[in-house]
């Protein structure tokens, strides 16, 4: 059975169950019924509203997951498939679990605020959802991803005497930029609230500093321009091309291009330890430089194969 067919049947079945179960038990339930508990029941909704809300909440999750399956490339990879299956089954079991425990607590009560929800029952619903999600993830992750060929050979490039060759390319990440703007906006908003005394006790000056630093860090890690010339390799960060990091050609042993994803190198932005640095903006083509010291630098950038070819040609010419 294909994932899509299972997803469709599963989603429809759960939607039907979520609508049908409260309606089928209508004679034994109070109306309105208790829908939220703190220490005792403290929230309620009419039976119809309850059935519609739970079904709607599930439908939204389900439609989003189906859309991901139809349009996204998230399921091409094993980790993506595992997360998709775990979300589909786990969220479904959680919704049904919440609904069933709610109905159970309300069963044969006359008024909503007499309903009692045993703590273990709520816990059981969560544990069941986690277990089902984990199992679905394990079953659904499928075949392992093919290992990307390490050190793909760049096309050979011959530089003639009197030729000047340069390579300029860039990679940017709108997602990193948007996330840092959103994060900074939230923190700065909190700072304003703290300054006005609406958020008492919050140190507004610290919040301003954190927000500004976050914004700057996001700006600088949202784009990178790589330039290869006779003078070496230069990495310029951020939308304004500053700061710049220069690497001398004499330090470089060789270069190549690789296909890499953020999930393979530990996420977006600057990562790694000395000797294995990564500058990851987006999934796809990356330029890899290996130093004579044995260390390497990976930077995601468009048209990396041409860049690697030029680095190798320049290193060769310098050595000759």
């Amino acid at each position: 059975m294909t994932a899509r067919l299972f997803g469709a049947v599963w989603g429809l079945a759960l939607t039907a169950a979520l609508v049908w179960s409260p309606l089928a038990l209508r004679d034994r339930l109070p109306d309105p019924l208790a829908t939220h508990w703190a220490e005792r029941a403290d929230g309620y909704a009419s039976l119809t509203a309850y059935a519609v809300t739970t079904a709607l909440a599930w439908t939204v999750i389900w439609v989003v997951l189906l859309a991901v399956h139809l349009h996204g490339r998230a399921l091409e990879r094993s980790a993506g498939r595992a997360v998709w299956w775990a979300s589909l089954v786990g969220a479904g079991v959680l919704m049904v679990g919440i609904s069933l425990t709610t109905l159970y607590a309300n069963l044969d009560q006359v008024v909503w605020n007499a309903a009692e929800l045993p703590g273990w029952l709520a816990l059981a619903a969560v544990v069941a959802a986690l277990g089902a999600g984990a199992a679905a993830g394990l079953l659904g992750k499928g075949a392992k991803d093919p290992v990307p060929p390490a050190g793909e050979r760049p096309p050979a490039l011959r530089l003639r005497k009197g030729q000047r060759a340069v390579w300029v390319s860039r990679a940017g990440s709108g997602a990193v930029l948007a996330a840092s703007f959103l994060g900074a906006l939230t923190v700065l908003g909190m700072a304003v609230l703290a300054y006005l005394g609406i958020l008492p006790g919050a140190p507004w000056a610290v919040l301003v500093a954190v927000g500004t630093l976050g914004l700057l860090a996001g700006l600088f890690s949202s784009a990178v321009t790589v330039r290869v010339t006779e003078g070496g390799v230069a990495l310029a960060f951020g939308p304004f091309g500053w700061p710049v990091r220069r690497i001398d050609l004499s330090k470089i042993e060789k270069a190549w291009s690789e296909e890499r994803r953020p999930s393979e190198v530990g996420g977006w932005g600057f990562r790694g330890v000395p000797g294995a640095a990564v500058i990851m903006m987006r999934a796809g083509e990356c330029l890899v430089l290996r130093y004579h010291t044995g260390g390497r630098l990976l930077v995601s950038v468009d048209d990396a194969a041409s860049g690697a070819a030029l680095v190798n040609a320049l290193v060769e010419r310098k050595a000759a």
């Binding site: 060759a165 390579w167 300029v168 330039r227």
Partner: protein
Amino acid sequence: MLITLDLNDAHPLHEQVAGAIRRAIGDGSYGQGDRLPPARDLAEALGINVNTVLRALRELRDEGLLEFRRGRGVSVASRADGHALLVQRTRELLEEARRYGYRRDDLIKILEALP
């Protein structure tokens, strides 16, 4: 974007830059809709005047290879592909033919004689 200039070449620099960009589009390094690096960056790396690079970019825009868009910079036009490579190769072929003393008409005759 890989750009090679030949300092001994008699051709003007803007033609050489245009040729290098045509080649990058033709060999698939840059596909339809891909954004080119800013002209300022290219000029700085090449050590030439930014106006020379801009002139090359404008030529390619007039050929229909590039699109200029406000705020999006310069990108490869949506209908540019193998045509760019063919034009570039033919141009180089024509130059080589001239070096051997053949004219455009001779080259056309050679092409027509081919199966």
